[in-house]
Every structure is written in C-alpha cells, then in structure tokens.
C-alpha cells in the first residue's frame, strides 16, 4: 500500500510537469489548429536557462527566493523565445497548408536541438539544486521537497492560467479566437496579438516545466525535450486537444500510467506506453476524454 502511494506521488509529480508542457501544446492548437513541434525544445531551453543562470551568470541558488527567481527568469526567457519563433517562422505561413507549417515546426525544433548541441555541448550537464532540498518522511512514504515544489508550483501556475483564461479580457479573446478566428477579428480582436500572447503563455509554462523537470532529473542535455514533449503532446490529445483542463487531466493520467509501468516488469517499455495510449485514443475516442468531435461540413 505504501508502495502504491509512493508511486502515486511520483506519478503525480511527473504528471504535473507533463501538464505544464501539455498546456502549451493545447493552447496553441486551440488558437491555430497546429501542433507546435518546437514546443518541447522551448522546454529544454527553460532547463538550460536555469543551468546557465546559476552556473554562469551568478544567480544565487539554494534558497526559496533564489529558486523562484530562476524559475521566473526561465519563464520570461521562454515566453520571449516562443513569441520570436512564432513571429519569424509561423506567422509568415499562416493560411498555408498544415503540412508546410508542421514541417517548419519540425525545422525549428531541429534547429533548437542542433544549435543547442553546438552551443551548450552535447554532453549532459549536472543541474544545480535551485531550492533547498530535504526529504520528508511520513507513514512509510518518502517525498522529496523538490516533488512538493513541483506540485505546488504547478497548482499555482494552473490556477493563474485559469484566472487568465476565464477572468481577463485577453483570456476571453483567446477563447474567441479558438472558436472562430474570423468572427473574433470582426468584433475587434487583434488576432495576431492574441496568438502571440498564447505562444508567450504556453512557452512560459514550458519554461517552468523545464526548470521543475531538471530539478528532479539530475542532468540536462539539448535533446532532453523530445521524449517529455511527445508524452505531453499525447497527454494533450488524451484530454481532448484544445481543451485546457483536458490537457492537465491527460497529463496526470500519462504520468501515473508511466510511473506504474516503470515500477513493473515492463519498465523498459515505459517510453512506448505513451504512444500506445495515443494510438488507442485516436482509434477509439479521437476527441479525447474531455473534447468534442468536430463534424466536417461537406
């Protein structure tokens, strides 16, 4: 039982990080109907911001305040990066075939990965302890303070996201654009600004995810984003692509399933589990758990 609860906590912790990444995917898909392939690499950049901030640019580490400072910095850098990518690579292609944009996104992803390997070096680097670390024991369970921070930060960010999306003007604008871009622009919404904002928001969350992820895995490397990114994407699809609570829910499911598989006999197949889930979902419930199927008008 204690084993089960332990895995539960681990799973939720992993799921929380996937949620932060998944939200970026689902938000961008919501407003643009396009899968931002490069999102996983923005996540990676977030981790590296944390690395270089402390290792090279003299950011302090080891206290809660310093940790939060690095977190916020990573989020800011990633937000800017996301907007830059959008303006340079995606905006010029708006209206073109989905394939063209998808391939461009793949190109951006490769660019970030390859440039990262050149600039940061391909070797994994040890990630510093940003926050003070302790282990908390209760009832036979061991929870690291990092895991608690992951859960707390995620919850705070999710709440902030919810507030932005449902209680602010820009959030309403985001939702309007995701329903009907033409109508949105006709009622005076600046679609371009909304789209940029969406990218900034999603990328900031990815940046946060990058920091939190790196805190719990000892090393960072330029290719680290691919696998978590794909799993987070599966989570977004599982929850219903375009649906924000769905993405968070899907991420939790993926995180939990993956953790339990890792703890079982089939641990070497853990990475393939997410894809298996993806295929099953697309076969049996393509709209996802919380999504609605759109019927094509003929």
């Amino acid at each position: 039982m204690a084993e089960f609860l332990q895995q539960l906590i681990n799973g939720l912790s992993v799921g929380a990080i996937y949620a932060l990444i998944a939200l970026g995917y689902t938000m961008v898909y919501g407003v643009l109907r396009f899968i931002n392939f490069a999102h996983s690499d923005v996540f990676m950049i977030g981790s590296f911001v944390g690395y270089y901030a402390t290792k090279k640019y003299g950011f302090p580490s080891g206290t809660i305040a310093s940790g939060l400072l690095v977190l916020v910095t990573a989020m800011a850098v990633c937000a800017v990066l996301g907007v830059v990518i959008e303006k340079l690579a995606y905006k010029p292609l708006r209206g073109r075939s989905t394939l063209t944009v998808l391939i461009t996104a793949i190109g951006v992803s490769l660019l970030l990965q390859n440039a990262g390997q050149k600039v940061f070096g391909a070797n994994p680097k040890a990630f510093p302890q940003l926050f003070p670390t302790t282990q908390i024991q209760f009832g036979g369970l061991t929870v690291s303070s990092n895991q608690i921070i992951v859960l707390v930060v995620t919850i705070v960010l999710l709440a902030a996201l919810y507030w932005i999306v449902h209680r602010t003007k820009i959030g309403t604008a985001m939702r309007a654009v995701s329903f009907n871009p033409t109508a949105a622009s006709l009622v005076g919404i600046n679609n371009d600004a909304v789209i940029s904002f969406t990218f900034a928001l999603g990328s900031a969350l990815a940046g946060a995810g990058g920091i939190l992820y790196a805190m719990n895995y000892p090393t960072v490397d330029p290719l680290m984003g691919t696998l978590p990114g794909l799993k987070a994407f599966v989570a977004a699809v599982l929850g219903g692509i375009g649906n924000l609570p769905g993405a968070a829910l899907g991420a939790m499911v993926i995180g939990l399933v993956e953790t339990f598989v890792k703890g079982s006999r089939f641990s070497t197949f853990a990475d393939a589990i997410a894809f298996a889930i993806l295929i099953l979902i697309l076969l049996f419930r393509p709209a996802g758990l919380l999504g609605k199927l759109r019927v094509e008008k003929v």
């Binding site: 998808l102 490769l110 440039a115 070497t268 393939a272 295929i279």
Partner: protein, 338 residues
Amino acid sequence: MIPRSQLWLFAALALAGGLAAFSGRMDPYLLDVAMGVGINLILAVSLNLINGFTGQFSLGHAGFMAVGAYTSATLTTTLASKLLPLVGGQPWILFPISLVMGGLLAALAGLAVGAPSLRLKGDYLAIVTLGFGEIIKVILQNVDFVGGARGLTGIPSGIPPYTQIVTFWTIAGAAVTVYVVWGLLNSTYGRGFLAVADDEIAAESMGLNTTRYKITAFVVGSFFAGVAGGLYAHVKGYINPGGFDFNKSIEIVVMVILGGMGRHVGVIIAAVVLTLLPEGLRELGNMKIANPFSPGTNIYLEWIKDIRPILYALLLITLMLTRPQGLFTWPLWKKKSA
C-alpha cells in the same frame, strides 16, 4: 512490344549488373557513397508514394526500414547456418530472399500502421506514425535475439561475394522502386492515389475506395523501405535500433519535400543531392584553403562539419518559408500518359 518504361528498367538492371561486377575494384569510399545514394533513393521514392502522392503524412518511415534491416540481417547472420544449406550454400540466393522477407515484414508493419491511421489526417497522422516508429524502435531495443539496444553486428558486408551482390541489389532495388511507383501512378488506377490525396470525400463519391488506396500506399511504401533497410544493414555491417529513429525519418521526409512531394524526378534528384551533400560538406570541412590575407597560412574549414546539422535545420525552415513546393520542381504539369 515492350513499353518504354520497361525498357528503361531493363537497362537499369543491366547497369546494375555491370557496376556490381566492377565493384570489387572500385574505391571502397566511393562505392559506399554510391550505395548510400541508392538506398536513400529507395527510401525517398517509397515515402513519396505515401506522403507525396497519397497525401498521408508519415513520419515513421525509418521504423519500416528498421523492420526490413533486422529481418534481412537476422537471416544472413543468426539464421544463416540453418538457411544457407537450403539454398545450396549460395549467398547470392539467400541475400535477395532475405531482402524480400525484410520487405514483406516491413509491409506487414505498414499494414499495422496504415490500417488504424486511416481516419486520421494531417497533424494527427504525422504524430501517430511517429509514435509507431518509436514503438518499433523500443520493441527492437527489448528483443535480445537481435541484439537489443546494443545492436546486431557481424552482418556480411564489404567482402566478396557480398560486395558484388549488395551492389547489384542496391541499384536494381532503386530501379525497381522507381519503376513500381512510377508505373502505379501512371494509370487510371494510379490517378486515384492523387485524387485521394486531393479530396477524400470527393474521391469516395466518385467510386474510389479511399481506404484501399491509403493502405496500398502504406504497404507498398513500407515494403520498399524494408528492402532499403536490408540493403543498409549489409552495407554498414552493423545496425542498432537508435539508427532508425525519428531523425532518420525526418531525413527521408526532407528529401521528399525538397523534391516536391509527388514529383518523381524531383524526389530522385533530392535524394541524390541530399546524400551527396553531407559528404561534400565533410570533404569541405577537411579542406584547407590558402589564406589570401596572410600568405603562408591556411584556413581550416572543420567548423563546417560542426554546424552541418544546424545548416540542415535552417535549410528546412527557409525552404518552407520560401518554396514549400520543393526545390527541384519546375512548372511541369503532370502529363496524362499510360
């Protein structure tokens, strides 16, 4: 009377034979590059059938290649002792059989991927095929019989008679692949692939079984990817699951896009160019140029090798932004012909 296309095919096969006989005396590096071109040609043209002509965006082609590679290699290494006696100890009979087996198993994998993916479009299809490619890789990493994550070594290559055999079959394979894809498309039946890519609902309403077309594209395309895999295994002599990952799939996709998605000639040119380009860049990186600004010293271009992947990514992005219809295309209209 034999149609012209078949005459070309026979000519290519004759060329394959000639080159194979000569291969023992060729510079091994050049031979290696030529084999690389042939293999990439098969990969690109077969993917063109799926992506370019039938509009099914598949990002998992390397997975089919892996299935073919491992099947073929297993037959010539691990199982060779049992199988060779069955063919009178002749590797030149065993090898093509192993290629075909590799192709068939890859085709089966293509069926397994294509069938469930039929309802999916665009982005979703891309991700699912990507997922399948990864699943195949993970499965191979977990099967110890074929070496698991360490890979399979000791695949016969680089020594006669395999040099000649593999050379022949690489060129022959490329010729056959081009012929098959071209032949399929150039018929009333084959125009159906294009119709399905253009507008599935209209195609179905005109009596085309879109499901069968899509599955056919996947199965034929993956068969040849499997053959390419088998050839690849016997050129390199060693394979491991990591070599058939998403990056490999993307390499092939880029060839198809560069060549203009659904253009026979363009994709062939793209495959050749993109195989030779890294070699060219590597040679460039090895060169030194006399420095015109300070005579007596040289400029070394090794950094070119370093930034090659970055250049590649930039090429892709620039291409999509400026000329998404492909680099090796020109206002050639698809002529009607039989």
